[in-house]
Amino acid sequence: MITIVKQTLQRLRGQIIGWGIALGLFGMMMVSFFNTIAGQGTKIDDLLKLYPKDMMAFIGDFSQYSTPVGFLNTEFFSMMPIILGIFALLVGSGLVAADEENGNLDLILAHPVSRSSFFWGRFGGTVLATTLIMAIAWLGMILAKLWASFSLDPAQLAVAFLPLLGIIFLYFGVAVLMSMLLPSRKLAAMVTALLVVGGFLLNGLSKIGTKLRDVGYLLPNHYYQGADAIHGMNWKWFLGYVVVGFVCSLAGYLLFERRDIRVMGEGQWRIKNFKGKTLNSE
């Protein structure tokens, strides 16, 4: 399994560097900008009060904008579930399906590697890669503290990343499960993208309109704290993300363990007719 973890990290090396540096620079820039924002005193708060309330629903509580936590929430953490969600759905849907559709899986599994070692090796490597990307983003913020006065310490900033890690893990698990349920990686990514983007939009709308309020409770974004976790981490919500993400991944693994490996290419829908006979098969 260690070999698979190492190989997965090696494959994702470019993505870790690319996503990590991009988010690191973005975090660094945001922390550096905070001095300028804080220097404006109440002017910014007065300006933001003029913004439509609906906007607040999507990108955080503007009333806290001049505080480090509120600023980070609005400028960084509010959008991260979508940005890193794209990474999660791509790597999750391709966890096993990428190798299978490329035709590599046949030969890998012809070596003394169990399906469980392969699956959990890829899983471990990908979770580690995601954590590394966030660690680089965190590091960018820490480095910016060298020249910018920012009251949050490294430990507090690390806590702010935990809810993000949780929701991304959930998206990743859903993408893994979808890739085992649906005939292709592309389709699995599309369905998970609906949850990532649709969830974000619906959650925002549920805060505005009373009709959608109850729908909000069903969405992962409703339980996303962002940097507010610094004021008090909701471990139940975090655990909820981890459990749902893991259960989805486990279900994906069980499906992988039981099914045939394709030589290559995408699969087909397995639709049964009224006699229970499969009309299209892999």
Binding site: T3, K6, Q7, R11, N102, G103, N104, D106, L107, I108, L109, A110, H111, P112, V113, S114, R115, R258, R259, D260, I261, V263, M264, R270, K277, T278, L279, N280, S281, E282
Partner: protein
């Protein structure tokens, strides 16, 4: 007495509602080179992939070196070297990286001198990136990775596909050497001449059913003969057909056909006609193979 290395008993496999293997029964002895012949879609690759638990059979039993691949897939794979029919390799690696990766999957128990020797014999550059490799070079990588761990069982699906004739010969030599060293080789091929060259026994699969299992030599020298008869007058087509000859082809006064079994009835028939010339030869494996796929079409033109 030779021991069984691979055994199939009533192996069945369906995809959706369609059965593609209808009860395969085969036994391959240890140290044997066994050819597996059949056209595309006959079930060769499906049979081989069942051996490695890449796909799950719907019925029947398989054992490799006494192990059930479904119960002990990792152990089975540790004893096996496999070359898939459709070979795809990690694009971001070089040939050396591919071997290193597979060696790691095998727990690093690898003789690198042997890997280098194999590459040298197949004229494969270890520093070549996979993404810039020709089909032939990729196939060489496939052959090396199958052989490099000196496995007890070699499962080769079209091993010489895409290789030039010189390298094909070298691959067949390597396979023979592996068998000589004690490996059991189960290989599928369309190239009948190479099966004829290296396989001691073979099976012919047709539409998911084994239609023949025989020693290659026996199959070639079996009572099946290709006969060419030049008649002085008209060819007695109806009477030849009534005898049950296969692949009858008539051109002017010349009739060519295959006869299975005794030639006595044919000789009696020919005795009634004026025969100018008669030639009877044993067919090549190619012709034997085609006779199984002729579907009993007596008028098939060779």
């Amino acid at each position: 007495m030779s021991q069984t290395a691979i055994q199939f008993s009533g192996l069945r496999k369906s995809y959706g509602g369609t059965e593609v293997l209808h009860g395969i029964d085969l036994e391959i002895d240890q140290g044997e080179i066994f050819g597996f012949l059949g056209p595309n879609g006959a079930g060769k690759t499906t049979t081989i992939r069942c051996l490695l638990d890449l796909i799950h059979p719907n019925g029947g039993k398989i054992t490799i070196m006494g192990l059930d691949p479904q119960l002990d897939p990792v152990k089975v794979r540790s004893l096996t070297g496999y070359l898939p029919g459709e070979l795809h390799l990690e694009d971001n690696l070089k040939a050396k990286g591919v071997f290193e990766y597979f060696a790691q999957l095998r727990g690093n128990h690898l003789d690198w001198n042997f890997v280098q020797e194999l590459c040298q014999r197949l004229d494969l550059d270890l520093s070549l990136p996979v993404k810039s490799m020709s089909k032939g070079n990729k196939q060489k990588v496939g052959v090396v990775q199958a052989l490099m761990s000196k496995p007890s069982v070699l499962l080769l699906d079209e091993p010489t596909s895409g290789l030039d004739p010189l390298i094909q010969q070298e691959v067949l030599k390597l396979v023979k050497e592996a068998a000589k060293a004690g490996a059991t080789v189960f290989f599928s091929s369309h190239v009948l001449s190479e099966v004829q060259e290296i396989a001691a026994r073979l099976a012919i699969i047709r539409d998911g059913r084994i239609v023949e299992v025989a020693k290659t030599e026996d199959l070639l020298h079996r009572s099946l003969r290709i006969v060419e008869v030049r008649f002085r007058d008209t060819v007695p087509v109806a009477e030849l057909k009534a005898l049950g000859v296969r692949h009858l082809h008539v051109r002017d006064h010349l009739a060519s056909f295959q006869v299975e079994g005794s030639l006595q009835a044919l000789m009696q028939l020919l005795g009634k006609y004026a025969v100018v010339d008669l030639e009877s030869v044993h067919p090549s494996l190619e012709e034997v193979f085609l006779s199984y796929y002729g579907g009993g079409d007596h008028d098939h033109h060779r």
